[in-house]
């Protein structure tokens, strides 16, 4: 049980992941993203090794389609896996193995993969894609979060009789640096998507402050002083 949006920003080339699931600490599985390379997530009965191989193949220049094929050929349990891959050109592909549980599937378009398993139905994947596509000019992190929230609002995980809550969630975006632009997580919570929105809202005004302080430490404003400017602005 998991639902995920992988996305690439057509304007900037930034790549990222939004994910929510019943499992705890899902952010741990979300390291398959790299600046100017691409993004991948393996889920359902996740083969955790896939991400490293996929990133190396994408770095070498293989297309998303060729990488996905390599991952499947390398795995005796491919039919239990669900995998999404986007390369640096925006080519997006996905695989949903027939042995993943519950309603499972993916919606794929240029620059995005919306996919999940153990979901209420296909309307969840459709909603995630729609949420992601709603504001194509916005920042990628915002679009990814919109995708995940739309998946939650459409019903998310489980069945009508037995819905399942989101206990963990994560949001990661890479741009051009060797480290993440945005990397936020909720590891253990009763409504993790709501909490991820709260974390993002809280973090958002700090993000440029942290960035500036790191690059220009001389005379940098103290964090408590910065927080006073936030309060003053409210």
């Amino acid at each position: 049980m998991t639902y995920t949006i992988l996305g690439r920003c057509q304007r900037t080339g930034r790549v990222g992941i939004g994910i929510a699931t019943f499992s705890i600490t899902v952010g741990r599985y979300c390291w398959g993203v790299k600046s100017n390379v691409g993004v991948t997530v393996s889920q359902a009965f996740a083969n955790e090794r896939n991400n490293a191989l996929a990133l190396r193949l994408l770095t070498q220049g293989f297309t998303a389609r060729a990488v996905l094929q390599q991952l499947m050929d390398n795995d005796p349990y491919a039919e239990y896996r669900q995998i999404g891959v986007i390369d640096r050109t925006g080519m997006a592909v996905a695989h949903t193995g027939p042995k993943t549980r519950g309603w499972s599937g993916h919606v794929v378009g240029e620059n995005y993969v919306a996919f999940g398993n153990g979901l209420m139905g296909p309307e969840i994947a459709d909603a995630i894609a729609k949420g992601f596509l709603a504001e194509p000019e916005s920042d990628l992190e915002h679009r990814l979060l919109m995708g995940i929230e739309a998946g939650r609002d459409a019903g998310g995980q489980g069945t009508r009789e037995r819905p399942k809550t989101e206990r963990s969630a994560a949001l990661r975006v890479y741009s051009t640096d060797t480290f993440a632009d945005i990397d936020l997580r909720v590891d253990l919570h009763e409504t993790a998507v709501d909490e991820l929105r709260r974390v993002w809202s809280y973090f958002k005004p700090y993000e440029p402050y942290y960035r500036h302080r790191e690059r220009n430490p001389r005379g940098a404003m103290g964090q408590e002083e910065f927080m006073k400017t936030l309060q003053a602005a409210e």
């Binding site: 049980m1 019943f22 499992s23 705890i24 600490t25 952010g27 741990r28 390291w31 359902a44 009965f45 996740a46 083969n47 955790e48 090794r49 991400n51 490293a52 349990y77 239990y80 896996r81 042995k99 549980r101 640096d177 060797t178 480290f179 993440a180 945005i182 990397d183 936020l184 997580r185 909720v186 590891d187 253990l188 709260r198 974390v199 809280y202 973090f203 700090y206 942290y210 302080r213 790191e214 220009n216 430490p217 001389r218 940098a220 103290g222 964090q223």
Partner: protein, 235 residues
Amino acid sequence: MTYSIIGRCPRTGRLGLGITTFSLAVGGRCEGLAANVGVCKTQAFPNRTNDPLGIKLMGQGYVPSRVMEMFAANDTEHDFRQIAIMDREGRIAAHTGSGTRGWSGHKIDADCVAFGNGLVGPQVLDGLIAGFTAKPDDALEYRLMRALEGGRDAGGQGDANSHRPERSAAIKVVDRLDYPDVDVRVDVHRTAVKELRRVLEEFKLYEEFYRERGRNPSKAIPQDVFVANLKKQRA
């Protein structure tokens, strides 16, 4: 304002990082770990290019002391950084720049470096190290967790007039694989170290289930069943 510990398990060669701070989402700025290579963490006014670079340099065979020299040469603001580096053999380099704020320092002990800035005093580093060294046979993630709790209990961040809460925290441990064994985080919280302990304890209950489910999916029990079994065990 941050206090951290990097450590190595001499039995297993596992490498790890424990960190907590007043800043938000600190776990999102901890990419400097690689299995069988080393661990590198830059904080205070961090230069975020350092940690990925440090891992690449150690991977090429450079020792931590040499990596630190290259960091200094690569950064006009090196004096504002606080950096600890450890390689897979346990060799260490540490640097606390004169431009870091509040009480700042680092302390090297067996298989670990404790380091922090904006702290109430050197007793916080002693608390980190006492926590880390208390049970040397424990799994590294528990040693790192106990270190953070030791730092917190020794007073943590702030000065004589005011205490600063820990608002985010993280533990990462790498073993032999491309991805961390343990990677738990608290991004926005009022008592982040306490919350990190809760997340870690919960994760440890699921760890083997998640690992096995990925390796042998045809035999995996549904997570519902696993969770129900956990509840029964707790009752």
